[in-house]
Amino acid sequence: MESESPVETKKSKSKTPKKAKESILKQKSPAEFFAENKNIAGFDNPGKCLYTTVREFVENALDSAESISELPMIEITIEEIVKSKFNSMIGLVDRERIDEALYDDYETAKAREKRLAKEARAQEIQAKNAALGKKVKEHAISKGAKSRGEASFYRVTCKDNGRGMPHDDIPNMFGRVLSGTKYGLKQTRGKFGLGAKMALIWSKMSTGLPIDISSSMRGQNYISFCRLDIDIHRNVPHIHLHEKRDNKNKWHGAEIQVVIEGNWTTYRSKILHYMRQMAVITPYAQFLFKFVSDTSDKNVTIKFARRTDVMPPVPVETKHHPSSVDILLIKRLIAETSKQNLLQFLQHEFVNIGKPLAERLIGEMGPEFSPKMAVKSLTDQQIVRIHQLFRQAKFDDPSGDCLSPAGEYNLRLGIIKELHPDMVATYSGSAQVFEGHPFIVEAGVSVGGKDVKQGLNIFRFANRIPLLFEQGGDVVTRTALKRISWNNYKINQTQDKIGVFVSIVSTKIPFKGTGKEYIGDDISEIATAVKSAIQQCCIQLKSKIVKKMQAREQQERKRNLSKYIPDATNAVYDVLKEMAKSNSSKKKRYEEGDADILRKVSDHLITKETLTEKLTQHVEKVDYEMALEYATQTGVREEPREDIYLQSLDDKDAESVICMNHDAL
């Protein structure tokens, strides 16, 4: 590093005089900013872009359906578009390469020699293995690294049965970055109104193709169709087509279609994981995921069937808690409020401030404040004073009523579906507060299951969306790994198959980093809540595990005891033999009873076998007695039963249940 720096300074020195044009003051539109910094929103590379696009569409669709209390039904289709097809789509003629050496993936003669030699060697080994009768592994077809030009394109379509969008709002909802419906203080999946717009910006950057939106609202007799892209420099929508079409099926919802560059090969598992975990945390939704390509063996169709019709309540919009606001926010609230005087303002624009408290607060602010003063006339200094008081005064914690956790029932369903565990326990904590925002932590811990790897398998959810990246720094991962002593709960951290599910909901999730990817470990309130939720689950599991261990012990007691009989009798008999020797040679005198035994040992009346037999008899007797005792103690127990959800088998659903296919993963 150090050796580099002088070079750098040299460089910059030499460059500065050239660069010394007068700097021009430029302004950037939000859309431009996000186009240049698309990694902020999770659009780091083509693969991640594909993943984030799917994710944003799914989350919007869920939010939309839930907002009208409709059981969500979401179809996601990713269609692979090969280059020639893409070219014909945009009306570009496919051109053959003429100057081969011009291209980056051109193979020189030397490189070809090397590759052929390598392939020949591999073949030789394979032939040898085959000759030896070894099972020949399917030799992975060496995929040449994709060269720069060889981009893959995908058409991503997402269809839902949600609220839909008003006809006239559609252009602005998609074609203007940082405009949205989710800016209120409310538990939502999305937050900044960025997701779908980023997908549009990315499509514009990578393919230049516009986005297609169809939407209809409940009771509308038409479908709005809109094809648009975004004018990045002005941050305004650029409409190609905006029309009303027939709505024969009385469909409501939205269908969005976008063509982007992506990378299915590397992000396939991430996308599937995401869908799978989304299905875990929203078991009341139905997802149909399709991947379509020209090579049919790559195609994937997965249906995540609905497993319950119990939907968590719609999260309600809440007012700000006085301890969570800043000066800017107070100013905004003042500008927006319909209340006239300070007393009403305090009373109605914040939670946990009643009339008496508001009066006391105004009294405390100082003589220049009065309950009746007009709230819009507050000076900047006065607002700072209010802010200071809000920071210092004591308020009741905000209640968690405005939150909508997944619920223990849903979590449990999801875990059972996902892991098929031997045991599962769930726990839902009470609402707690971090910087004036209420949050609820729910946890589930499972042990065992099929296709679960040994050790900790951690599943994280924030506001009911799965978090897949940056696992290492996350508060849940760190808590589960470092602060839970699994041993105390008779769980073996390395040997057992442990599933840890933690879902955190809040009006504001304190994500770390730029994307919505992980929650930092530095917030002690959340860390403590996560720890205690996991511990509560473990406590429930422990009693189950102990019972299981007892049962196993019952079965294996006799075998475990009998295992030690030879060692024990050998040890005793060895000493007896030596004693018998010295007794018969009269080296040592023993008392009459003992001498009698020793004589029998010398005369082979008492042998190793005698001792073994007696000990075996004793073990059998003990085993019988203890088994009897165990049986009387435990008696007949019945596990509490759980309601199960049966899907209705009318019309088209019937077929879908049959094609339910979760093994495809």
Binding site: E553, R557, N560, L561, Y564, D567, A568, T569, N570, A571, V572, D574, V575, L576, E578, M579, Y590, G593, D594, I597, I606, T610, L611, K614, L615, Q617, H618, V619, K621, V622
Partner: protein, 419 residues
């Protein structure tokens, strides 16, 4: 004895700036005088016979083992095995009654200044799933020790473990049961003819006989003499030393041995390289009892240093059944003490912050009776926990590698700065 001028003292006018406090040092003769007067007053005061459990009328409620001859160990085992045989033949399985060595069964007796074992026992039946393994191992160890008695040989704990690796699984298990067995038979572990590998070393002004050979510890080279594992073969101790210097760490020991510190100030230097083994503790006790010398301890300034000191002084919980033979009363804490860090201006970079675990250990130690009885120790430990700093003996090397032997220790001795 050894030639006192094997190593010349370095010139006194060497740079005192890099070795602070050197100018405070008096001449060696003056320090020796101080030490001689201390040692003579010490040996005259410590002539009284040490107290035993019987003196305190505790012998019924506390358990203690004694050295037994081989034949009595043998007959103890034999009568036990006969008992077992009777039990088995009558169809009741068999079980051992073993004194509990858990921490709840330990008692610190201030009058004796050591930990003793109370009289609680546990039954170890064969026909219970939780104890079947241990019971079998106990029977096996008994039969092995019986063989040792018949053949009159010594083996190491490792040897014992390797007789049946499959059953014992790891050495910790056979070692623990060995302690159980000696506790059950009421004899010391050395009476079972099982020894631990040599760990401790001694160097300095000491002559003793090991299995008939006379050993002069001034002529054992730099490494010193390994402390023999079977103390019963050690005898005829002679010394012209003024004190015994107990060192926690091997590194400090090597420094002192190479500098021939024992020739400048006649002393015996002992180390067990960390936690002391049984042999070293027995040896230290024997030296102290026979030579009547004061014992000064040089340990790290951290909770573990003090813990090691306490094991020499009051015994470990694991071996409390034999604390009468294993502990050396009245060990003085010479250094490095927490107060020395500032007193000797040990630079910040040589001090280490204590971890949470360290602080917890320190606080736990403050609750221990053997610390509480010595107000000076409590004060030092409080200081350590408060400053949250620890330092190893090697921290003194920041003033030069020989600072320990040339300035720190002489100055400490001159000021009689021990607790």
């Amino acid at each position: 004895m050894a030639d006192k001028k094997k190593r010349r003292r370095p010139d006194s006018d060497s740079d005192s700036a890099s070795q602070p406090f050197k100018n405070l040092l008096k001449s060696d003769d003056q320090i020796l005088q101080i030490l001689e007067s201390f040692t003579s007053s010490f040996s005259s005061s410590s002539t009284s016979k040490p107290l035993t459990l019987a003196d305190l009328a505790l012998s019924t409620t506390c358990r203690e083992v004694s050295d037994l001859s081989l034949s009595s160990v043998q007959s103890a085992i034999e009568s036990l095995v006969l008992q077992l045989t009777h039990q088995i033949l009558s169809g009741q399985g068999f079980s051992f009654t073993i004194p509990s060595r858990s921490s709840s069964n330990q008692l610190y007796v201030p009058e004796l200044d050591r930990i003793v074992l109370k009289d609680k026992s546990t039954v170890r039946p064969f026909s219970h799933i939780s104890s079947v393994r241990k019971t079998t191992i106990t029977a096996k160890i008994l039969s092995l020790v019986h063989q040792l008695c018949l053949k009159n040989i010594h083996v190491t704990k490792r040897d014992l473990f390797y007789t049946d690796v499959k059953l014992f699984q790891d050495q910790i298990q056979s070692d623990a049961v060995l302690d159980d067995v000696s506790c059950m038979l009421g004899c010391t572990r050395s009476s079972l003819n099982v020894i631990a590998a040599e760990k401790g070393v001694v160097v300095g002004r000491l002559i003793f006989s090991d299995n008939g050979d006379m050993i002069d510890c001034t002529k054992m080279g730099m490494g010193g003499k390994a402390i023999p594992p079977n103390i019963d073969r050690v005898g005829d101790m002679q010394s012209d030393a003024l004190f015994i210097l107990l060192v926690e760490k091997d590194a400090a020991y090597i420094r002192l041995a190479e500098d021939r510190f024992y020739n400048r100030f006649p002393c015996i230097i002992v180390t067990a390289k960390g936690q002391p083994d049984v042999a070293t503790r027995l040896f230290l006790r024997k030296m102290k009892m026979e030579l009547k010398l004061p014992v000064l301890a040089l340990v790290d300034s951290d909770p573990y240093g003090l813990k090691i000191l306490s094991v020499y002084g009051c015994g470990s919980k694991n071996m409390s059944y034999d604390s009468a033979n294993l502990t050396t009363p009245d060990i003085k804490w010479l250094g490095i003490r927490p107060s020395d860090l500032d007193k000797y201006k040990i630079p910040e970079q040589c001090r280490l912050p204590m971890t949470e675990q360290d602080i917890k250990t320190g606080k736990d130690l403050l609750e221990e009776d053997f610390v509480k009885k010595n107000p000076g120790w409590v004060e030092e430990l409080n200081l350590m926990v408060k400053t949250k700093q620890k330092a190893e003996i090697q921290a003194l090397s920041s003033f030069g590698f020989q600072y320990l032997s040339e300035v720190y220790l002489p100055l400490k001795l001159q000021q009689q700065d021990w607790l």
